[in-house]
């Protein structure tokens, strides 16, 4: 299993994976590694199972090695410092996924719950709008690239 890993702030654990992962297992290990935290807030993003007329058959994320992981690490370091976290876990998939597959796991461990909730949301809003991933979907056997959503930029403006 190939794991691309970088770590600057020792409280931030950031991973970019090109193989499937199991969020409950990662979360359990993260929680047990941070006994000093009063709370852990987590978010899992997954490929939607689409029941519409033209369901998405597969989703692919592409990354660019020299930029993607370093930028994720910078975001994690910023998040840890801004919310005084005990620990932050960011696991993000790249490559081809099918409906039901986890895409991203963010977990924030803090002394108190407010920082944990806010940090997880802050990290997700920035990951969604600013991280170096390009997405395409396969519908009816045809791949097409997905353009950015305005909503993602709006989500970001809440933090400035």
């Amino acid at each position: 299993m190939k794991t691309l890993r970088a770590s600057d702030d020792p409280r931030a654990d950031v991973r970019l994976l090109i193989h499937p992962f199991d969020p409950p297992i990662e979360l359990a290990m993260f929680i047990s590694a941070h006994p000093a935290a009063g709370g852990v807030a987590s978010f899992v993003g997954q490929v939607r199972i689409d029941a519409g007329a033209d369901p998405v058959e597969a989703l692919e994320l592409r990354h660019y090695e020299p930029l993607t992981l370093p930028a994720m690490q910078d975001l994690a370091d910023t998040t840890v410092r801004r919310f005084s976290l005990e620990g932050l876990l960011v696991v993000h998939r790249s490559g081809e996924m099918t409906p039901g597959d986890p895409i991203v796991l963010v977990a924030a461990a803090a002394r108190h719950r407010r920082e944990a909730f806010a940090a997880a949301e802050f990290a997700m809003d920035h990951l969604k709008s600013q991280s170096w991933f390009w997405k395409r979907e396969k519908v009816g056997g045809v791949w097409r690239w997905i353009e950015p959503r305005i909503q993602d930029y709006d989500d970001l403006s809440r933090w400035t």
């Binding site: 991203v104 969604k128 991933f133 690239w145």
Partner: protein, 80 residues
């Protein structure tokens, strides 16, 4: 003597492949002049960013290129 061009996201479709090598030239304009005009226009589009060896440039004319450089053309990201 060559440069490596990397096309991310939808630019891969415009280029017909994810990456290619071109002969080394000193400027990005010279690189673009050697490409298919339609592809060059797509790479010059407003929201496309350029990274040379992993360093971002907002001005396409800024970097001075040398043999072995990797140029990545980055359209707007579409989120995880």
């Amino acid at each position: 003597m060559s440069l490596k061009l990397v096309f991310l996201g939808r630019l891969e479709d415009a280029a017909g492949l994810p990456e290619r090598e071109v002969e080394a030239v000193a400027s990005v304009s010279a690189v673009l002049a050697g490409l298919d005009p339609e592809l060059a226009a797509a790479l010059r589009a407003d929201k496309v960013k350029l990274a040379v060896n992993g360093m971002l440039f907002h001005d396409l004319d800024a970097p001075v290129l040398k043999d072995g450089d990797e140029l990545a053309f980055l359209p707007p990201v579409s989120g995880g």
